[in-house]
């Protein structure tokens, strides 16, 4: 039974991607309600997963169902707002964030998103007011970028430059920041500074494109050749100082089933960026697929702590603990996974089994 369960989990997990950290992930915890009805949690969990998979239309439907069950669920309003923003339904997104504010009071995350919506609506004074309010302790690293853009669009180029310069320090490899900063310098008549920023823009855009090209080549090599043969194409992506490239490389190996090859870049990635949910999740997933459950436990615990609503991580952690024989630890984790996705019959079955066994002990 244990093996059967593990196999089913493996199959289920095969459909899950190495997950990306969503901008609102941390905010979910801030904005979320304390107690949720089980159905609500399931819809929110599924919706979050769909947002992550960039299936925003389907995600919106999940949040709509969650809100139909519990109209005052702040987390659902928040996630729904993020989803609508991604769909470009800006006018519909705004009331969702406003509702979160009504329910939970001020939140840096809500203020950030309302500021971005103001910017998209060309309401620069309001965008500046909101984004300025959270810029000192930014909820998302790109807050300074949007604040700078708002100032530039409002005609206050000097303040725009100030914030874009801060954004460039926070996101030094983001070509978008350098492009906007270059344009602002140019408007301000600072041609020398503009030239410098255009050079940085070109440099980082070029790097970004290289990553895209190399990822395509690696993916294609892994699709058509053995993992060993593909290594030559994929190792171009191995930059020992770039956690994002390393994570991507690990994901590409993992997607091709080359889990052994994925370990090195992912271990390096978590060393470089211990705050990266996706790197920890991918590392845990890789150990899990190699059946190295003891090694998988630590990374998955870290990932699940970062995103407790991520069903894929939680269920894999539960399965890992179960495989290690730590039933006491597995039970609450699997219960949480089941709450996030009540439709997973295998989890439900093993939960029943675990619960039945508990009194005997």
């Amino acid at each position: 039974m244990m093996r059967l369960f593990a196999a089913s989990i493996l199959l289920a997990l095969a459909a899950l991607a190495a997950q990306a950290q969503q901008p609102g992930a941390q905010a979910q915890q801030q904005a979320g309600g304390a107690q949720q009805q089980p159905g609500v949690a399931a819809h929110i969990g599924k919706g979050s997963q769909l947002i992550h998979d960039q299936m925003y239309e389907a995600a919106a439907k999940e949040f709509e169902q969650a809100l139909a069950l519990e109209p005052n669920n702040a987390q659902a309003h928040f996630e729904y707002g993020v989803c609508l923003l991604a769909l470009g339904r800006n006018d519909d997104a705004r009331p969702q964030f406003e509702q979160v504010e009504k329910l939970k009071g001020p939140s840096r995350y809500v203020t950030y998103y309302l500021g971005r919506l103001d910017l998209l609506a060309n309401d620069y004074p309001s965008a500046i007011k909101r984004l300025s309010a959270v810029a000192a302790n930014p909820p998302i690293p790109d807050t300074a970028f949007y604040l700078g853009a708002a100032y530039v669009s409002s005609g206050d180029t000097e303040k725009g430059i100030t914030w874009l310069e801060k954004a460039a320090k926070l996101m030094p490899t983001d070509y978008r920041v350098h492009y906007r900063l270059a344009r602002a310098y140019s408007t301000a008549g600072r041609q020398q500074d503009a030239t410098h920023e255009y050079a940085l823009y070109n440099q980082y855009l070029s790097q970004h494109k290289s990553t895209e090209t190399e990822a395509r080549a690696c993916s294609e090599a892994l699709r058509t050749q053995s993992a060993d043969a593909a290594r030559a194409a994929c190792q171009h992506m191995y930059d020992p100082n770039d956690p994002e490239r390393l994570t991507l490389l690990g994901q590409l190996y993992g997607e091709a089933g080359a889990f052994q090859q994925a370990l090195d870049p992912l271990n390096r990635a978590v060393q470089l960026d211990p705050g990266s949910y996706e790197a920890w999740h991918d590392l845990g997933l890789t150990y899990f697929r190699l059946e190295r459950y003891a090694d998988a436990r630590g990374p998955l615990l870290k990932a699940a702590a970062m995103r407790p609503e991520a069903y894929g991580t939680v269920v894999m952690l539960g399965a890992t603990l179960y495989m290690l024989g730590d039933d006491a630890a597995a039970l609450p984790v699997l219960e949480h996974a089941h709450q996030l996705n009540p439709g997973d019959e295998q989890t439900a079955a093993i939960l029943d089994k675990l619960k039945a066994e508990q009194p005997k002990k």
Binding site: A20, Q54, E212, Q251
Partner: protein
């Protein structure tokens, strides 16, 4: 998409669909943009109604372009331009239609075609009589009087060799490509082309954009290279992955010949790109024409005219190279016009599907601001978009926006219905205040008819005082959208004849002041997508019956005309003022 989003998308998409987003993008630059929500309809009537009268007008021959049901090579997918011109100087617009062919062999009847305007709503095919029968892969056209003899000549960009027709003034043309020194070594894919008097010597020079290095035998056919797919469907390869090209500039020597000045002018110093439509206009008002080239999946190029025979490429600095996040777009067509009637020439550039067109507001000093979303154009990212115009279609004094659509990957709609091969015409009416509203209906039956369209030309072919539209449709006859405007808005047409300037006055900027508005238009030799529009500038005036006109001639001379009555065509000769006034459209 930033880097983190790309990483996430690549990983997530690869697992969920078996096709990576990188592959899904195919060879084109697109941003995966979703439509902005549509606002509440204004409910205002739109007085222009369009009906396709091509068949009735005699434009029945299909424009052959590659196989009828597929596009195996990128060369077969890009289509070609169209032109409104008055080749016989009778005051009525004639039509020149480019054509392609098929790789398998010549197709009976496939040729570029010249249609003479019969002045009764119909046209007569005079191709053979004019000596213009030619079958091949034609792409762009530019019309102008390069030898200043009073008759418009025609240059056609093509693969593998461009060609120049001199108008003999008697209804016939002569191919003078070789005599003019315009034969280039090797095979090249000429696309955008425009006459431009870049050195203000009164003679039209020639700019030619090039797309990719193309060879049927060296580029895989659809389905042979798995990397060439869109949304997981095998499609033709390119432009990404193919070798980009540089444009060329030819100086008019004044004796019927041209000299390649690409290197000397520094036009050849820009990075190679996938160049498509090229337009020439004085965008900064300094009296010297810039050249703007829409580039597919590479940054678009803006060549600033230094006034000494050289250009500096300032696309990035101007804001016209990339989108506001610094990413290149799949630039196809270019329109130049003054959408906010502030007296400055603005720019509209069309792109691939899942991206918006880009509307750039001219803020002066060759700086442009992307106002696409602010203007309301973000509602329409669904189609691959091509020939476009900023033109006042309903004569209300506010220039509207129009473009045509059609996919380059006909195979995709069989799997993804949301990416149709044939698309509708897109019309945004100008609401004033820098805002536009897409008219999904209410502008006549022709707007919603679907075709795989490419080039578009704007002009008043029936001389009734409103702008009609000529459209190239791949492997179908063209569309001729007759505008029946009933709103009673006034208008003024301005035709210029250069003396010190080139005779076609290409490069002039005319600014008309009416009812508190100041609208600029440029006399251009090419725009839209590889096409040529009526060189008589048409200004809708709304309720204004009187307008003032200021002309900045290509020579640098300025001329002001006060208190002109509306609803007439005025012809202005450089240095001589108004030489004729015609009450057409009555």
């Amino acid at each position: 998409m930033n880097r983190r989003e790309f990483l996430a998308a690549l990983a997530a998409g690869a697992m969920s669909a078996g096709v990576s987003p990188a592959q899904q993008l195919g060879g084109m630059a697109t941003r995966g943009i979703k439509p902005q929500p549509r606002g509440k309809p204004s409910g205002l009537p739109f007085h222009a109604k369009f009906t396709d009268v091509a068949a009735k007008a005699g434009l029945t021959a299909p424009v052959i372009y590659g196989p009828p049901d597929r596009m195996d090579y990128i060369l077969e997918s890009m289509g070609c331009g169209v032109a409104f011109l008055d080749y016989d100087n009778d005051g009525w617009l004639d039509i020149f239609l480019l054509s392609g062919t098929r790789r398998e062999g010549p197709v009976a009847g496939a040729t570029n075609r010249l249609y003479k305007n019969n002045r009764d709503g119909t046209f007569t095919d005079v191709t053979a009589k004019a000596g213009l029968v030619r079958q091949g892969w034609a792409f762009g056209v530019t019309v102008g009087d390069y030898n200043n003899d009073g008759f418009d000549d025609i240059f056609v960009s093509a693969w593998p060799q461009n060609y120049l027709y001199r108008n003999n003034g008697n209804g016939t043309f002569t191919d003078v490509t070789e005599a003019a020194g315009l034969i280039h070594p090797g095979n090249r894919w000429g696309t955008g082309c425009t006459w431009v008097d870049y050195d203000r010597d009164g003679r039209l020079d020639l700019f030619v954009a090039h797309y990719v290095v193309f060879d049927f035998d060296k580029i895989p056919i659809t389905g042979k290279d798995p990397a060439c797919n869109y949304k997981g469907v095998p499609v033709n390869c390119g432009p990404r992955g193919l070798t980009p090209e540089r444009p060329a500039l030819y100086h008019n020597n004044g004796d019927g010949t041209f000299t390649d000045v690409t290197a000397h002018s520094r036009v050849g110093s820009a990075q190679p790109t996938y160049g498509l439509t090229a337009v020439a206009a004085d965008l900064d008002g300094d009296g010297w024409q810039e050249i703007y080239m829409a580039c597919d999946s590479t940054p678009s190029l803006l060549f600033k005219n230094s006034g000494d025979g050289t250009f500096d490429e300032v696309g990035l600095e101007s804001g016209l190279a990339v989108n506001e996040d610094g990413r290149e777009q799949a630039g196809m067509g270019i329109a130049i016009g003054d959408f906010d009637t502030d007296g400055q020439l603005d720019v509209l550039k069309t792109h691939f599907a899942e991206d918006t067109a880009a509307l750039y507001h001219n803020t002066g000093h060759l700086e442009f601001e992307d106002v696409t979303l602010r203007a309301g154009l973000g509602v329409e990212p669904r189609y691959v978009s091509w020939g476009d115009g900023i033109v006042d279609l309903d004569n209300d004094g506010l220039p509207d926006i129009f473009w045509v659509t059609g996919s380059t990957f006909p195979e995709v709609e069989r799997v993804h219905h949301e990416f149709p091969h044939k698309g509708p015409r897109i019309l945004f009416r100008n609401l004033g205040g820098g805002k536009f509203e897409e008219l999904l209906d209410g502008a006549g039956p022709a707007i919603n008819e679907i075709h795989a369209s490419r080039g578009v030309a704007f002009g008043d072919f029936d001389n009734d005082g409103d702008i009609d539209i000529l459209i190239m449709n791949i492997n179908e006859p063209p569309s001729l959208l007759r505008n029946d405007s009933k709103g009673g808005g006034h208008w003024l047409k301005v035709k210029l004849v250069g003396t010190h300037s080139n005779r076609s006055a290409i490069g002039a900027v005319v600014t008309v002041t009416y009812a508190g508005r100041k609208q600029a238009q440029a006399v251009m030799a090419a725009s839209s997508y590889l096409s040529v529009s009526d060189r008589r500038l048409h200004f809708g005036l709304g309720a204004a019956a009187i307008a003032d006109v200021e002309i900045m001639w290509p020579s640098g001379a300025r001329e002001t005309l006060k208190g002109l009555h509306s609803d007439q065509l005025i012809t202005v000769k450089e240095g001589a003022g108004v030489v004729s006034q015609e009450r057409i459209g009555q």
